[in-house]
Structures are given as structure tokens and as C-alpha cells.
Amino acid sequence: MNNIFETIGYYLSLPMGRYALIVGVLIALCASLLGVTLVLKRFSFIGDGLSHTAFGALAVATVTGLTNNYILVLPLTILSAIILLKTSQNKKINGDALIAILSVSALAIGYLLLNVFHVSSNVSGDVCSTLFGSYSILTLSISDVWISIILSVCVITFFTLFYNKIFAVTFDENFAKASGTKTEWYNIIIATIIAVVIVVAMNLVGSLLVSALIIFPALSAMRVYKSFLSVTICSGIISVVCTFVGILSSMLLSTPVGATIIVIDILCFFAFYIIGLALRGKSEV
């Protein structure tokens, strides 16, 4: 027992350990807030597609040798977020196919670029950490911390101020539009925030696992709660707790941080699934 606290104490005495915890919790909170809208609007697949595009963009940024990757990765990801959103609403274009094309191309081109241009000596190690997150949490810099703090302040402020609009747009977009809400605008803002969250979260859990961070808490909360407000709050809490526990366990067990967080999220989902079944009585599945 003492050993556990000692290990955690040791990690938290390192600035890197504290950064990981702060960044993790904040990112998780933002991701889960967005997740509710994303899941309900049937946009979860966009999160998935985007994380792959972000990987491609990151590869390009690495190859071109930019000092700050965000300068290239962020605008590219935001752009693809908006494109994906627009096409998924357009019934004439097959949105699913486009997302598949976009994400697979981004992965392939990204991997190819990294290999052809040998920017680092350990390409497969780099690729692995971009896809699945860093093996250890001790790779975050102070600028990551600041970015995640600024980001989460923006997301939470936006979410609080526009909570009612977000509900209206999510629940019934046509009605919201008919009564004068600029729904396209909200969609674009939501897409932009998703893109930003994905890019920042990629540092933590890696691009393949990012969408789990977004959708699992919302799905868990929806098993048990029945109002939009309680689902939103609950998914925020689930996400923060799971990430916190996940990061601490990865410190203790020396496991990859991203995968650990997601596994905790999955366990939590099953717990809520069972609670949901129990509450509803076993008649309904």
C-alpha cells in the first residue's frame, strides 16, 4: 500500500507527472462535453475520421520540420472537420465513403512521408506513439499544459453560454433553424472544437484512441440518465474520473497511458450498462 502512494508521490513530484494529470483531466472534460452532442447527432464517426487526418497532418508537419506542429496540424484538422460535417449533411454525397477515403489516405500518406523523408531515426517508434499515444506520460511540455488550459476554458465557456442552443440544435435541427437559429454556424463551431480537442488529445492518448475518449463517457451516461442536462454532467464526471484513475494506474503499472485510460472508460461503460439494465428492469434490453 505504501508502495503505491510512494510511486504516485514520486510521479507527482515531477513536473511532467503533474502536467500529465492536468492536461489529461482537462482534455477528458472537453472531449466528453462534446461527446454528448457528437453521439446524439450521429457524428461519432467524424471524430474517428478526424483523428486519422490529424495523423496525416502531423506527419506532414514533422517532414517539413516545423518547430511548432500545431501551426499546421490544427488548421488542417479544422478544415477536414468542416468538410466532413458539410458532406455528411449533404445527402447527395456518400458521406461514409468520403470519411473512409479521407482517413485511410491520411494514414497512408502520413506513414509514407515519415518513411521516405527519414526525419527521425526511429520512425516506427514515432508512428506508434502518434497512433497510440506516448508510452510514458512524461513527454508533455509546459506549452501543452497551457494549450489545454486555454482550450478547456474556451470549450467550457462556449458550452455553458450556448448550452440551450446546443440542446436545440442537437435535439431538432430543423426546428431550431426554422425558428431563426443559425444552425450551420453552430455546426461549424462544434466541428472546430472537435478538431481542436482531437489535436490536443492526440498528445495524450494518440490519434487512434482519441475518439474513444470522446464517445465512451457520453454512451455510458446515456445508459443511466434520461435528461440532457444530467447526461452532460454525468459524462463530464465519468470522463474526468476515468482519466484521473487511468493516468494514476498507468503510473503504477507502467502501462501506456492512452490505452489505460480507454480501458478504464470501457470498464466504466460496462458498469453503467449493467446499472442501466438493472434500473429499467430486465424486460427491456
Partner: protein, 240 residues
Amino acid sequence: MNLIKVKNLSVGYDKKIVLENLNFDINEKDYICIVGENGTGKSTLIKTILGLLSPIKGTIEYNISRNEIGYLPQQTSVQKDFPATVMEVVMSGFQNRCKFRPFYNKEEKQEARTNLAKLNIANLEKQCYRELSGGQQQRVLLARALCSAQKILLLDEPITGLDPLATQEMYALIKGLNQSGITIIMISHDIKCALKDASHILFATNPPFYGTKTEYEKSDLHKKYNTHHVGGHIGGHDDE
């Protein structure tokens, strides 16, 4: 006072016209009933007036602001698993009133409760929307439409799924709203009732008919339609 002016309008989807040559004015306190057979473009017309679809030809002039319009859709594409209470759904009708105010105020909350009571669903306030029956859901959406209507209320087959008593109450409610100064545009297959309360009739055919109730009763259309469907109610299709 004129609220909306429809000139030479054609409506439809992707250049495919479903209803054309529409010319009419919507004035304050009108009670316009849109009737016509299935698939003649009634819902399409309403969506075009609301700005959800763009006109194929012609113009619509608005002398009111978009956020003074309330709307009851014929179908809502609400997801089966959407977590939302009745109160949350009804309150969302106010969001056009808020402009830049982030939260709803006490008066609005009170008004939402009044509207729920008017539709006899005050007891459902805290229930989950997705767990209601079709008719109850319809009433909730109606309550939401009432919350959002400040000048005009557009209703696309409001009585679909309501029981006979609720239907009667619904008509009385709409009439009351109209008398209190709200302009009503309602799609209905219940032509008998339409003729009782409405001030104007828009018959969706080619060419469309628009006129006051008395004009309609004198027209050939009325004679034809009435002999076909004695008793009036043709019964809208049920989308539940």
C-alpha cells in the same frame, strides 16, 4: 398588417417542382388552412416559408423577423435514444426569444408550464421524451411550438395521433391563439374543421387555389372535394 408576401412561388426539391404559381399574402390574425391530397407539396410549401428549403422560383417577402415564428413539424427526426425530458424539449421553444441571453428566465419557465397544462400534459413534465406515446410526443412538440410562436404559428398536421377529445381541445386552443392575435397557418386533412375555424383556405393542387373561406365554398373545388369525402376527415397518415 402584412406579414409575409408570397409571389409567383414554386416549391420543390432540387429543381423538381411539386407546387407552383403560388401567390398569396399572409396578414396579421389570418387563420390559413392548407388542404390537399397526400404528396401535393403542403409540407414542402411550409418548409420553404420557414426557410428550410429555398424557393425554386419566385419570392417570399418577410415583414417579420424569423424568430417570431413557431413551427410544428409533421415528423421530427428525433433519435430513439435521445435523453431529454419533456420540460427540456418544451423550453427549447424559447430559444429564439433569447437572442444573446444564455439561459431561460423564470417567466419563460412559468409559460412553459402553462402551455403544458393547456395541452393536458403537465404531469409529464419530468418524464423522458423518448418514453412517451406517439400522441403524448405530439402534444409535447405542440407545447414547444406554442412557446416559440410570437406572431406566426405554422402547424403541419397538428392533430396527427391525438385522440378525439384532444383533437377538439387542440382546435379550441388554436382558435384561441388566433383570437389573441397569433397568425395561424395549418396543414390539415380535416377539411370540415378547417372550414369552421379558418379565415382562408389554400388548396394545394395545380393550379393552387387561395381565397377566403366563402370564396372557397363557392368554388368548384369545394363541391368536388366535398362530394368525394363526405364527412370531411380523410385521416392523415400516421408516421409513428
